[in-house]
C-alpha cells in the first residue's frame, strides 16, 4: 500500500510539482533567513573571524562585544606570559583610523596591530606580497575588498592614516566586520603610532597554551587575575552574538523576519499538503470502505508528508546554499553563513511544517465517513 501512497503523490505531476515548489519555497525562506542572520552575527565578531591560532582571547571579564573593549596594560601581558602552561601570549590591537585618499575624500578603516616578530593574529591568507614585509617602516597590508574602497591602491602606494604615512606592502584576504570598513593590518607598534592610546593599549592578548598543558588550568590561572579573563573563540563569539541580539535592534528585527519566514513557511507548506489530502479524500474514503484501518491511512499520509518534506527541503536548502555560496565571494557585501547545524535545524523546521499539515490532513481523513463513497 505504501507504493500506492507514493503513486498517489507522484501520479499527478502538476499537483506534485506545486506541492514540492511550495515546500521548497518554504524551506528556502527558513534556511535563507537563518543563513543571513548567522552571517551577520558572524561578521559582527570582527577580528575573531580572521584570527585562528590562539587558544584564548584574554580580555576584561566584563567584555561583551568585540567593538567595545577595555584596553589591557603591558603588565597584564607580562602576567599572562608568566603563567606556567602558556606557550606564548601576544598583544593584539584593534582600532579605527581615518584614511585620506588621493582624491581628497576619506574613509574610516579598521586597523589591526599584530606582533612584529611572531605575526600572531595575521590575516588568514596573503594574496600579494609577504607578511614579513610588515617589518618595513610604515608598512601596512590591506584586505583585497578594501582596494576599491581606498581608491584602487596597490602595492607600493602610500596612504595617509590619521595624517601619518602608510605604505602598502601586501594584499590579503580576510572577512570584514559588521560595518564593512576596509581592513588594514600593520604591526602593533605602527598601529599605536597611527592611533595612540593614552595609557593601556592592548585590545586583546592572544594566548596559546603549551602542548600537553591542561587548557582549563591555563584558563583558570588567567581568570585568577582579577582584571583578566580567558575566552575561547567560541565563548567570545557567543557573548558577542548575545550582545548584538540583546543590545541592538538587530536581534529583534531579524528575529521577527526569521519568525515571519518560519510562520509563512509553516502556513504555506501545511496548507499545501492539507490541500493535497483534501483532493484525495475520495480515494481515502474508498480505502476506508474496502478495509483500510486508521493505522494504515496514518502510515500512508505520513509517508507522503515525509517524501515531499525531503524533496522540498532538498531543493529549498540547495537554493539557499547556492545563495550563501555566492555571498561568500571575497568582498561580497552580502552576509550569509550556512553551517551544518542550520541544515539540521531547517530540516526539522521543514518536518514541523509538513507535520503540521499532516496533522490537519490526518484529522480530516480519520474522521472521514466512509459512507461518502456512495455520493
Amino acid at each position: 500500500m505504501f507504493r500506492i501512497a507514493v503513486r498517489m503523490l507522484l501520479g499527478d505531476k502538476s499537483k506534485y510539482l506545486s506541492l514540492v515548489l511550495g515546500l521548497s519555497f518554504a524551506a528556502l525562506l527558513i534556511a535563507q533567513q537563518g543563513a543571513i542572520f548567522l552571517g551577520l552575527m558572524q561578521r559582527a565578531t570582527g577580528p575573531l573571524q580572521n584570527v585562528g591560532q590562539p587558544d584564548f582571547w584574554v580580555a576584561d571579564p566584563k567584555t561583551r562585544y568585540v567593538g567595545e573593549v577595555r584596553p589591557l596594560s603591558e603588565s597584564d601581558l607580562l602576567r599572562v606570559r608568566s603563567i606556567p602552561g602558556v606557550a606564548w601570549a601576544e598583544p593584539f590591537y584593534a582600532a579605527r583610523a581615518l584614511c585620506e585618499l588621493p582624491d581628497t575624500s576619506f574613509k574610516t578603516v579598521q586597523l589591526f596591530g599584530i606582533d612584529r616578530t611572531t605575526f600572531i593574529g595575521q590575516p588568514p591568507m596573503m594574496i600579494a606580497g609577504s607578511i614579513e614585509d610588515l617589518r618595513m617602516p610604515d608598512a601596512v597590508i590591506i584586505e583585497e575588498s578594501a582596494i576599491p574602497k581606498l581608491g584602487g591602491v596597490g602595492i607600493g602606494d602610500t596612504l595617509r592614516l590619521n595624517d601619518q604615512r602608510a605604505v602598502v606592502v601586501g594584499i590579503c584576504r580576510a572577512t570584514s566586520g559588521f560595518e564593512s570598513n576596509a581592513l588594514v593590518f600593520t604591526t602593533f607598534q605602527n598601529a599605536l603610532r597611527y592611533v595612540p592610546q593614552p595609557r593601556n593599549s592592548i585590545t586583546f592578548i592572544l594566548v596559546k597554551s603549551k602542548d600537553g598543558a591542561d587548557k582549563a588550568q591555563v584558563a583558570a590561572a588567567i581568570d585568577a587575575i582579577p582584571t583578566l579573563k580567558a575566552f575561547t573563540g567560541e565563548e567570545l563569539v557567543a557573548r558577542n552574538t548575545e550582545f548584538i541580539i540583546v543590545e541592538t535592534g538587530i536581534g529583534i528585527n531579524f528575529g521577527i523576519t526569521v519568525m515571519l519566514g518560519f510562520i509563512v513557511g509553516v502556513i504555506v507548506s501545511a496548507s499545501i499538503f492539507y490541500q493535497f489530502t483534501v483532493e484525495n479524500l475520495r480515494n481515502f474514503a474508498v480505502l476506508k470502505a474496502v478495509g483500510a484501518r486508521s493505522r494504515l491511512l496514518i502510515g500512508m499520509i505520513l509517508l507522503q508528508a515525509f517524501l515531499v518534506a525531503i524533496v522540498g527541503f532538498g531543493i529549498g536548502v540547495g537554493l539557499a546554499g547556492v545563495f550563501s555560496w555566492g555571498a561568500r565571494r571575497p568582498g561580497a557585501e552580502l552576509a550569509a553563513y550556512f553551517p551544518w547545524p542550520l541544515l539540521i535545524i531547517s530540516f526539522f523546521a521543514m518536518l514541523f511544517c509538513v507535520g503540521a499539515g499532516s496533522v490537519l490532513s490526518l484529522r480530516r481523513v480519520l474522521t472521514l465517513e466512509p459512507a461518502v463513497v456512495f455520493k
Partner: protein, 271 residues
C-alpha cells in the same frame, strides 16, 4: 466465461444461510426541524446465493440502506447483521476489518484511484489486508482477465472507457472474494449496452469466483428497469420503507428481457 441466463430458480430459502439480516432499522440525518428520516423501520433478509435488486424512486433511501448493510454507516436503531454479526457491536476498526473481509463494493462513480494502474487498483483490497505484493498482483490479474481486461492491466483509469473502468471496479470488488457484494447504481453512468454487460459480469463474475457456492449474495441498487430481469428477487423501496411486495409495474419490468447484444460492439476507449 459463461454469462448468466435470466433469473434462475432459487432453492427454498429455509435451507440456506442468512447473509444479511435487517430488523426494524431506522436512520435519520440531521436533527430537529431539518431532520430527514431516511430509513423508517426496514426489515429484510438476504440469503446466500441470492441476487437481490433494490429499486425505488430517487431519495427513497436505497443508498442509505446499502450503506448500513455494508457497515459504512451505522443505523440509529434496529439490527443490521451480516452473517450473524451486528455492525454496531463492533468498534470502528473492527467494522473496517470486517468490511475488508466480508464486503465488496461497486459504485456508480467507479471510484478508482486515478494515478494507479488497473492492476494495482484491483489489488488494493488484498494489499490492504497485507497479502504480499506479488500474490496480490497475480490474483488481481486473474480477476481482470475474468472481467475481460486481461490485456489492459497496465492502463491508468483515464485511459479506459467508462465501461472498462466499471469492469476494473468489479474486479476490485471481487478480488477479495467478498461474502456480500454491494453495487450502488453500477450501470447509471453507462450506456444501455455497456450497462447490460456490466450487470452480466457482476452476476457471472460472482458465480465464477464462488464456484456456485450458496454462501454469498449480491445486492444491486438500481432504478434502471432494463436490468431488472437479472434479479432473483426485487425489493422495492418507497419513502424509507420496503414495500410488502413490489408494484405491478416493477414486476412487469422484471419479466421483460431487454437484449442489447445486437447493438454495436463495445464502446471504444478514449485515447
Amino acid at each position: 466465461m459463461t454469462l448468466a441466463p435470466a433469473a434462475s430458480p432459487v432453492p427454498s430459502a429455509a435451507r440456506r444461510v442468512v447473509a444479511v439480516h435487517l430488523d426494524n432499522v431506522h436512520k435519520s440525518f440531521g436533527a430537529g426541524k431539518i431532520a430527514v428520516h431516511a430509513i423508517r423501520g426496514v426489515s429484510m433478509k438476504v440469503h446466500g446465493g441470492e441476487f437481490v435488486m433494490l429499486v425505488g424512486p430517487s431519495g427513497c433511501g436505497k443508498t442509505t440502506l446499502v450503506s448500513i448493510i455494508s457497515g459504512v454507516l451505522d443505523a440509529d436503531s434496529g439490527k443490521a447483521e451480516v452473517f450473524g454479526v451486528d455492525w454496531r457491536s463492533l468498534s470502528r476498526d473492527g467494522q473496517t476489518i470486517r468490511r475488508g473481509e466480508y464486503i465488496g463494493f461497486v459504485f456508480q462513480q467507479f471510484n478508482l484511484i486515478s494515478t494507479v494502474t488497473a492492476l494495482e487498483n484491483t489489488a488494493v483490497p488484498l494489499l490492504i489486508r497485507g497479502v504480499n505484493r506479488g500474490e496480490a498482483l497475480d490474483r488481481a490479474a486473474e480477476c481482470l482477465k475474468l472481467v475481460g481486461l486481461g490485456e489492459r492491466t497496465r492502463a491508468l483509469p483515464s485511459q479506459l472507457s467508462g465501461g472498462m473502468q466499471q469492469r476494473v471496479a468489479i474486479a476490485r470488488a471481487l478480488v477479495g472474494r467478498p461474502r456480500v457484494l454491494i453495487c450502488d447504481e453500477p450501470t447509471a453512468a453507462l450506456d444501455a449496452r455497456t450497462g447490460q454487460q456490466v450487470i452480466e459480469l457482476i452476476k457471472s463474475g460472482t458465480r465464477e469466483l464462488t464456484g456456485g457456492a450458496q454462501d454469498r449474495c449480491v445486492i444491486v441498487v438500481t432504478h434502471d428497469n432494463r436490468i431488472f430481469h437479472y434479479a432473483d428477487r426485487i425489493e422495492e423501496m418507497e419513502d424509507g420503507k420496503i414495500k410488502e411486495r413490489p408494484s405491478d409495474l416493477v414486476m412487469e419490468e422484471s419479466r421483460r428481457v431487454h437484449d442489447y447484444t445486437l447493438d454495436p460492439p463495445d464502446e471504444p476507449a478514449p485515447k
